[in-house]
Symmetry: C2
Subunit: 381 residues, 2 copies
């Protein structure tokens, strides 16, 4: 057992010819902490902060697996230093893959996780149970008025959430301020008509010092949440969204850079553990058999990400798994049976491809309700 004030990171190591696993592990422990030759740090600081090798095993495939523990005092409560500690300078080395993370209570408390979580999102959408549908307004290049029509139609059809495409930022074709105000108003109009509670999530991608202003604007015009391109924007943006009272739906754009086979961060650790820790209420990832035909995006990977988002983790709320990226509307019931009801399905292109996407959304929601009712009945039987 590790002391409760240590954070444990598990790395899989692929050694280059002539490289020895223990030496590689020791190099990581030093590089990520004192980052100085042995014995050069003054006083007892090396003894206090140097990473500790808790165990080192050889895996059946010949790789080595090392567990390194870090003093929680190295983490400062903001995402950039946590990421830097876990995979900062070693990103520029090779054959190192972060595959596991044990977050001690002080780190869990300091970051706090989702502000809303599954229950909070359900409450805001007025959907106490069953799977949720998030529709997408797109593409970039359309004007705010055109996007607002889409948002209104999706809301009228009853989509639980409507999000901006992740490429809608602050381009001249649909500036953030105007787009957000118009789409929020359109969704509010639809909600008034239907009595529904569709939540519109604008994409708050943009400058770092303008972020708070964009979030506050989103809240003021009545958006219940926002879409955050967490990697390019910086992961701390997710926390800020929650603090301002907005559901944070995190998009994985650019995250794939970390998903190397031999080097990087395992998707379930980055999109599961880390994205949840920093406050994501929902995390988007590529559903298998969609537009991302990478061997990574399997059912097992979806299950691994879902588990990390949902399982008990200190006092942190569970977050919605949000599979997307080419989910076929007709196959949603099948995926629902697999992923379970605490899933937020992102469906975009497949609704547009049906022409009348408002009608397509109604049909999809109906199919989801039917499948969910059957699931519940089967569970009770």
């Amino acid at each position: 057992m590790t002391a409760p004030d240590r954070l444990r990171a598990t790395y899989d190591l692929v050694c280059a010819p002539g490289e020895e696993a223990r030496a590689k592990a020791l190099d990581i422990a030093r590089e990520q902490t004192v980052e100085m030759p042995e014995g050069t740090p003054p006083g007892d600081v090396e003894a206090r902060v140097l990473g500790v090798i808790e165990r080192l095993d050889t895996l059946p495939d010949g790789r080595s697996r090392v567990v390194i523990s870090y003093d929680v005092a190295l983490v400062d409560g903001a995402a950039p230093q946590l990421l830097n500690l876990l995979f900062g300078n070693i990103s520029m080395k090779r054959g190192i893959r972060l595959v596991g993370l044990d977050l001690p209570e002080p780190v869990l408390r300091r970051f706090g996780g989702p502000r809303f979580g599954i229950e909070g999102v359900r409450e805001r959408c007025g959907a106490p149970d069953g799977p949720l549908l998030c529709a997408v307004i797109k593409p970039v290049g359309l004007a705010p008025a055109e996007l607002a029509v889409m948002a209104e139609r999706f809301a009228r059809a009853g989509a639980h959430l409507v999000k901006d495409d992740h490429s809608l930022a602050d381009q001249a074709s649909a500036p953030f301020r105007e787009r957000t105000a118009r789409c929020a108003a359109a969704v509010a109009r639809a909600n008034d008509q239907t009595g529904g509670r569709t939540v519109y999530l604008p994409n708050v991608s943009g400058t770092v010092d303008g972020l708070r202003g964009r979030l506050e604007l989103a809240r003021e015009v009545g958006c219940g949440g926002v879409l955050v391109n967490a990697i390019p924007q910086g992961l701390d943006a997710v926390r800020l969204a929650g603090e301002i009272g907005l559901i944070a739906l995190s998009h994985p754009t650019m995250a794939g850079a970390f998903f190397g086979r031999d080097h990087g961060i395992a998707p379930e650790v980055l999109l599961g553990d880390v994205f949840r820790l920093v406050g994501s209420d929902g995390v988007i990832y590529p559903n298998p058999e969609g537009r991302f035909p990478h061997p990574l995006w399997t059912v097992a990977m979806g299950e691994a990400i879902n588990r990390r988002l949902r399982e008990p983790l200190g006092g942190l709320r569970p977050a919605f798994a949000a599979p997307g990226g080419g989910v076929e509307a007709t196959r949603v019931p099948e995926w629902l049976a697999r992923w379970g009801p605490d899933t937020l399905f992102l469906v975009g292109g497949s609704l547009y491809a049906q022409g009348d996407y408002e009608a397509a959304t109604r049909r999809l929601l109906e199919a989801m309700r039917t499948s969910y009712t059957r699931m519940v009945a089967q569970t009770r039987a």
Copy 2:
């Protein structure tokens, strides 16, 4: 020739069995822009925003190289959307490596590049020519008073810059505010004594909404610049530092995730073109034969990064190449001959390893001056 209002990105493609290069290229062009099935976007928007394949070649090693041009209207002037456009969703596919970037005038103007550049940094340090030395205070775990002693000694020895270790964030052992104030005061004291102009650069890693405050504090207490962990903090932090009147020295922590052999972004594009575009006055990267024994970190790579930082690029100022990561003090003259005088050498561990690091710094600076004088004489001869 491409129209001047298009941004051209060059990707090297490794096709999986059964995958065809043109289809892969078309998939990128669609995924990064309209991200919807062909024909589904309304009106003429697909014609306006879909990426265009400008050329597609087969390379001698069997890879394909595609140049895709994007309408500059897709970029909004902030780093997150630029990164998302270049390597956002496709990061979650495979066999795609961004190896080149042609930035049109409107994009160069909008981002603006370094606020100080080589000349501005030289002016602030009072070093009109020759190589610069940046010393590093470390490790994390020391108290502000201990770090301040180090900063003062490096400044007294005449280091042009003294930077925080990139792992010094806002930990309780040395909170940002106290560390920055104390180290800045220590460096100012040394400067008063010596008549020098050493610049201290605190690491501004931390929350997104606290960033402006940290930068303003750094400026108020007299720091001439800051260290930015550009990837975890979000690249737009670099621009903000410049806007506030601070030299931005960008650290490559986590950037290595992008440097896959078959997938990712080539280091010279990310650390060279992109880091310069967003405003880095200096860019740190691993010097060959140091602590980063990856086959990536060769002399050719150093030259490629240096060239992108220094070469003419619209009206953008050139930026300092800042090789570091285990540079041996004794070998600096050799590297100086290779990299040229517009180089900012980062030397940390090797000075500490000599025990009296103040004396070691004086010796190194003397060796750098001697080598530089010889270089100049040889050039004139």
